[in-house]
């Protein structure tokens, strides 16, 4: 497990910024968070079909910033592609090749039933069967937010994933609609 720090400093309201402000450790800030966001950083996030022709990656980052500014310390962000990484500064930093959701779910199982878990993804996992098998071991819900065009095969998978764990599924036709989904979870 590794973590990534932003060269441009922490996002306002991110765990590291809140920890710094309150003079506490990142772990302590994390323990007060509500939502664990696991965001897909696979290559398909580079699709330029998002707001004003921007990459999904850029718009998702913009939305994550807004959420954390509005709800400081409420969101712990992890990015996944080939592996999973903690992003204490609040936004993901890199694009990977694979969509290893199975590995990501195995990792965030540590937060199962303790935090609201939200998977934000735009594509299909490398191994749907394995990812679903891990998801079924969760005691608490996994909520999903689909980013992409309506009717995409990935959307069906994320719906199934949420249903299998008793989670809610949100749809963001564009990443710019990511915020309402996370805010709905924060509001309970």
């Amino acid at each position: 497990m590794s973590y990534i720090q932003r060269v441009d400093g922490p996002t306002k309201g991110s765990l590291s910024q809140v920890a710094e402000e309150k003079g506490i450790t990142v772990e302590q800030a994390f323990a007060n968070a509500e939502v664990v966001v696991v965001i897909d950083q696979s290559g398909s996030m580079c699709s330029m079909d998002a707001r004003d022709g921007q990459e999904r990656f850029d718009v998702a980052e913009e939305e994550l910033r807004k959420i954390q500014e509005a709800y400081p310390g409420a969101v712990a962000v992890f990015e996944f592609s080939d592996d999973i990484r903690f992003c204490p500064d609040g936004v993901p930093t890199r694009i990977g090749r694979m969509t290893n959701l199975t590995n990501a779910l195995r990792y965030v199982k540590q937060a199962d039933n303790l935090y609201e878990i939200v998977v934000i993804s735009d594509g299909e996992p490398d191994n749907e069967y394995a990812a679903m098998a891990v998801a079924r071991t969760f005691k608490g819900p996994i909520h999903t937010i689909f980013i992409g065009e309506e009717g995409n095969q990935g959307q069906d998978f994320l719906r199934k994933l949420a249903q299998a764990t008793g989670g809610r599924q949100f749809q963001a036709d564009k990443p710019g609609e990511l915020m309402p989904g996370v805010v709905a979870l924060l509001a309970g």
Binding site: M1, Y3, Q5, T25, E27, F30, A31, F86, P88, A111
Partner: protein, 283 residues
């Protein structure tokens, strides 16, 4: 800048190092940095420093750094530590502070108003049953001095020990209140199953994430509770410099100073006009 040639003499006398040099402010400052106050004494009549022998390498280095050529007339005899058990009347115990030498000690005053006792942090920690300094701890467990598998009873005990030391009612030092807030927060999380599980998960998932740890509270690292500012203290330690200084190694007992009316002596450090002094009350 040339320093010229200066000579210092260093020899051993009655198990103590004796250092004689010309007056040099820079060197004296260096000496005070490398040798803690309880381990050195200025012998005014003889115009020499008397120092515990284990600091000889540090003194030699300081001499070299300041351009001295020293004449080592030491007889090679090593002083052996002679630990004694004694009951001392402690009229005031200051907060434990990080000294220039890096050591953390609290100074104690005798009934004649002389600062003759030195309590290392480890002795205070052992006596109070609080093994860690919460301001330096990076986890809630460390703040309460318990391990990560601690039972609820152990967590409560760790919190009680800390509260005895740092509760604002027991300790009027402003730094103590801040420490008490830290340990209370740690207790509230660890004593609650769900909060503890969330914290444990966060700790595991964060892994080696950067820490933004709270800064240490100035140089006071162990504010002594008011209750323990004075008393009859049974200690184990070593008397130095002709029994004029006592380096405490262990606290064995602590009794209040009671007068014939059954009142207990309390002491408080008061600063007035830039100078500090101890105020006493019988309560």
């Amino acid at each position: 800048m040339s320093r010229g040639t200066r000579t210092a003499n260093l020899w051993t006398e009655d198990g103590e190092l004796v250092l004689q040099s010309v007056y040099d402010v820079g060197f004296i400052m260096a000496l005070k940095l490398v040798v803690p106050s309880y381990a050195r004494q200025w012998d005014a009549p003889n115009k020499v420093w008397r120092v515990r022998p284990q600091y000889k390498p540090d003194i030699l280095k300081a001499l070299k750094d300041y351009g001295y050529i020293y004449h080592d007339a030491a007889n090679g005899a090593q002083a052996t530590m002679q630990v004694e058990v004694d009951v001392i009347r402690l009229n005031y115990l200051g907060n434990a502070r990080r000294r220039a030498s890096g050591e953390v000690t609290a100074s104690g005053m005798n009934e004649r108003g002389e600062w003759v006792y030195s309590f290392p942090l480890s002795a205070l920690q052992d006596w109070f049953g609080v093994k860690t300094d919460p301001t330096q701890a990076s986890t809630y467990y460390e703040m309460l001095g318990v391990n990560e598998r601690a039972t609820l009873a152990e967590i409560k005990k760790g919190y009680r020990n800390g509260a005895k030391l740092w509760h604002p009612d027991a300790n009027s030092d402003p730094g103590a209140a801040e420490v008490f807030i830290l340990i209370t927060e740690a207790y509230e999380v660890l004593a609650n199953d769900r909060k503890r599980a969330r914290y444990d998960a966060a700790k595991r998932m964060v892994g080696s994430a950067p820490r933004t740890k709270k800064a240490a509270l100035a140089d006071v690292v162990w504010p002594v509770p008011d209750r323990y500012r004075c008393g009859y203290v049974k200690v184990e330690g070593e008397w130095l410099f002709g029994r004029t200084k006592l380096a405490v190694s262990r606290i064995l007992g602590w009794d209040d100073i009671i007068n014939t009316s059954g009142q207990r002596l309390t002491a408080r450090w008061t600063v007035a006009g830039g100078n500090g002094h101890v105020d006493y009350d019988w309560v």
